[in-house]
Symmetry: C2
Subunit: 224 residues, 2 copies
DNA sequence: CGCCGAGTTGACAATGATCAAGACCTGTGG
DNA sequence: CCACAGGTCTTGATCATTGTCAACTCGGCG
């Protein structure tokens, strides 16, 4: 999952399920904290997240971390480049994944339907990453957090009592590493949104949208 | 072109030329400042840069700009998503481009060889963008500029008198919008590198690498 | 020669990072 | 069921990096 402009829905979730019957590999399960693959690993499978959340990470030698994307249900993770993974993939919760053999995609012997869907997913991935660049390069801390909440809501938000609410299945540190901020800054922005009654926090890992319009304005910088 | 870690060569340039004979469309020429396409345009062609440089841009309503990537000779630009372009594409110099019909790629009627190369290019694009995330999210201004010079050198650098030298075909503002900085900061970092004898500036648009090792150390943060 | 845009440099401000302390969950064991 | 321990989260104080605003220089071109 990447963060997009408020007015652009993230549509990875709209993808039709991959045709599992054509290449039935058993579902993989992963406990929170476990790694599915690491940067540099040879790619033999790609995975569609069925349930739970994963993160795609890159590390710098000195420990700085950037989360490239979160993998939510419906997302495809593990795009190869020259046969290798270019990120770590870590489970943030109990995760279920549907694996697909890479051989079914990258050569002429594979399934054309699967290959076409894979191509489509890769192009969506590129478009989503392009949106995310704008955020990392040009948006303020408040804009980033607001954009993140809106994007997450578009993917996994629920209606309850006429209010949108969204779970944050990841830690503040994960959010910070995704947005290019520190945990302290993420925490401060959330507190500020809470104090200004734009959101409410229902426990640490659930956000209720009190004034969605204000949040949208914040995300796009229209509040000035 | 994206900026990668210093130790990872940008390899888009290694791609075999696309088989132009299979779908011979005439080369497109574009003057500096002209737009090849804009965000939202329907995608009918994708293009391989033959000569010159283009930039792929995204804009925020308030004018903030992020350059997603520079398109250097060999690079493929115009990846579609749901049939639309998701960035503007602007020529930064006189540019020559080889167009390809999108119909040859996205459906079963297309050329399999071309489609495979397109797939490969898309996956390389994803990997390159992942590298760039680390820079925008986690690197300091000096690290970004140093990384940028090294990445550009890997693509278009020349040897002369035993020294590497690289042209900067874009303005300081373009570099800033690519790196998520301001023109002033880019200028200051370049001045500082010049004063510390890491680089020399041979005119505004040419950099000579005096101490490449120091530049590499700077790019990866090893200088501390 | 003078103009004009791009680039550079300086002074200052602001945003977000860092460092530190305290509060709050959550799981474990008595 | 409660107490404790360890991590996560929040909040405050301070600092550093980078952005902003402004002045000035440089280089190309009429």
């Amino acid at each position: 999952m990447y963060v997009t402009n408020a007015n652009q829905a993230v549509d990875m979730a709209d993808f039709a399920q991959f045709p599992t019957e054509t290449c039935a590999l058993p579902e993989t399960r992963l406990a929170a904290g476990a790694h599915l693959f690491r940067e540099g690993d040879a790619v033999t499978r790609i995975y569609q997240v069925v349930a739970g959340v994963v993160s795609l990470n890159r590390l710098l030698e000195d420990g700085r971390r950037q989360i490239i994307a979160f993998g939510l249900p419906g997302d495809l993770v593990g795009f190869p480049c020259d046969g290798r993974h270019h990120t770590d993939c870590e489970a943030l919760s109990l995760v279920r994944l549907q694996p697909f053999r890479i051989t079914q995609i990258d050569c002429a012997t594979g399934d054309p339907v699967l290959r076409a869907r894979f191509m489509e997913a890769a192009l969506h991935e590129i478009a989503a990453m392009q949106d995310h660049f704008m955020m990392l390069g040009r948006k303020s801390a408040a804009e980033r957090v607001a954009s993140f909440l809106i994007a997450l809501d578009a993917r996994t938000g629920q209606d309850r009592d006429g209010q949108r609410r969204v779970d944050l299945p990841m830690s503040r540190a994960d959010i910070a590493d995704f947005l290019g901020l520190t945990t302290e800054t993420v925490s401060r922005v959330l507190s500020q949104l809470r104090k200004s009654r734009v959101i409410a926090l229902d426990g640490i890992h659930r956000v209720v949208f009190l004034r969605p319009a204000a949040l949208r304005a914040l995300a796009t910088g229209d509040c000035d």
